[in-house]
Amino acid sequence: MSTTDTTATTARRARRGIRPTGRPSGTGTPPAARPGRLTVGTTRIGYEVRSYFRSPDAVFFTFLFPVIMLGIFTAAFSASGEIQPGPGAEAVSVGAYYLPGMLAAGMLLSGVQNLAIDIATERSNGTLKRLGGTPLSPVSYFVGKIGQVFVTGVLQAALLLLVASTLYGIALPTEPEAWMTFAWVFVLGVATSALLGIALSALPRSGRSATAVVIPIVLILQFISGVYLQFNQLPEWMQNIASLFPLKWMAQGMRAAFLPDDFAVLEQYEAWDLGWVAVALLVWLVVGLVISRLTFRWIRRDS
């Protein structure tokens, strides 16, 4: 009953138009403070996450894609036995071997692919122009975007791990050190991916071309960085090229967390090299930050 009453009241109010305000007009009163950048940024995270999960493209090609790929790899190679780094070393199933790569791919997709396409689309459909006409700070906007990447990235990793352990019977690490490695590689990798996504969003000239520009970059990186193909079986020159980009290091960090230590010999320099993983990701994080800072505009303002 009460809802009907409210509707009737609002309808009456509507007939009178907008209610005159109690706000004192003129110059005497100091302007009330705008809500803080971080407060608004936090509310943007919820808004961004909600809009992400309402976009079928994002949910399929970014969120579920690594889970689906893990399923395909596990099924396709189920008959080809286990992967063993050397004689007498501990062996793991193909699914277990590919799980770290899929986690790294998820980080790349949630950050780079998602934000590059999302922001380029928002630029071309007028969303950014509209936001640029409001008192929304770009800082709040980025808090929302990066927060969205973190929330969806965490949910995606959790889903991957859940599916891996329950559906494919992949044993997850039990040592706390492994999870510590996972945690810092994940946080650093997702932050780097998010900033690189913002940076890359400046490249497509229109929302429609965004997918065509972004997907090939992301796809090639996945092929050369040990996500879909076993990294140690790639030719050295390809491994060297991959080392210039962040995905190789994310995948390596994830392998360090999830694979037995015997597998370290399969890496390019026969060690996990976690220090170099951190350095490479930090360098790319700074690159992403600088490019984002220099290129981001609400609109392409003519001079």
Binding site: I18, N125, G126
Partner: protein, 299 residues
């Protein structure tokens, strides 16, 4: 303009505004003051420089030359506190629409220091029935009303409306006019561009006509074009069936004399008081005849 309205600094002050794209001047020297509380309608054909001017005032475009002050600030350097005092309804609607009307408005309300009540705004634009519908599922006219709602949610002192009622049916347009009048009653300064001359006549305290990047006429809507442009026209057909037309301040006397001359009811008799639309079209035609290349240059 009398002294009482100019005592307070105008909401918008423009001096010698120019905007050049290459060799083409889209805006070619505009001077204009819009006092606080006024509803000002900017009229002109497509490509005349309306939207360029508005977007310079909104801070979206940079000017080539001239002085502009909007709510006391230079729009090219307007900060977030300045933006919080503006409401902007852009010409083009946004396509994104996975949020519902209510979600979108509640979210935008959080950007502002004194937002209006969300339900009140939804009711004011007549979208109560659609509050829980995703914006992408709305019709074009309904989506436009969401744009207007987003423009007023922050309780702006100055509201820019760039062709706000495109795609509205006649009833929705009248509802919209009511809403704009209530905003005006509240003291909101409104700058409106429109293709609908009746809209300008209904809402505008004053109107300006932009042609070829210049403001060719500014004044109260009922005085635009000068007194001459408003002289009533008497039209009829003479004995030979030839259309005749006379402009006169005494139409009744003219009609009486025609009737006397014809010794009967004149065929096709009309007495026309030029509407804003007639006056506007006359001005556009006159400008086109005076400077045929100016129109082309900005087209």
């Amino acid at each position: 303009m009398d002294q009482t309205t100019t005592r307070e600094a105008p909401a918008v002050r423009i001096r010698g505004l120019r905007k050049q794209y290459g060799t083409v001047a889209a805006v070619d020297g505009i001077d204009l003051d819009i006092p606080r509380g006024e509803t000002f309608a900017l009229l002109g054909p497509n490509g005349a420089g309306k939207s360029t001017t508005i977007e310079i005032l909104e801070g979206y475009r940079l000017r080539t030359a001239g002085e502009v002050s909007v709510l006391g600030a230079d729009p090219a350097r307007g900060g977030l506190d300045w933006k919080a005092r503006l409401g902007i309804v852009l010409q083009s609607e946004t396509e994104s629409g996975v949020m519902t009307v209510r979600e979108q408005l509640s979210h935008f309300a959080r950007f502002y220091p004194h937002p209006r009540d969300v339900d009140e705004v939804i009711a004011a634009v007549g979208l109560e029935q659609k509050a829980r519908t995703r914006i992408s599922k709305l019709s074009g006219g309904q989506r436009r009303r969401v744009d207007v709602a987003l423009g007023i949610i922050g309780r702006p002192e100055l509201l820019f409306l760039d062709e706000p009622t495109t795609g509205f049916d006649p009833e929705a347009r009248r509802e919209f006019w009511k809403l704009i009048r209530s905003l005006k009653d509240e003291g909101t300064t409104i700058v409106l561009t429109t293709h609908y001359l009746d809209e300008a006549a209904q809402l505008g305290d004053r109107a300006g006509i932009i042609l070829g990047g210049r403001l060719v006429d500014v004044g109260p809507v009922d005085r635009l074009g000068g007194a001459e442009a408003r002289v009533p026209i008497v039209r009829w057909r003479d004995r030979a069936g030839v259309a005749r037309e006379v402009r006169t301040e005494q139409p009744a006397a003219v009609v009486a004399s025609i009737a006397g001359d014809l010794d009967g009811e004149p065929v096709g008799l009309e007495v026309i008081r030029p509407t804003l639309e007639d006056i506007y079209l006359d001005l556009v035609r006159a400008a086109g005849a005076a400077a045929p290349d100016a129109e082309e240059a900005v087209a």
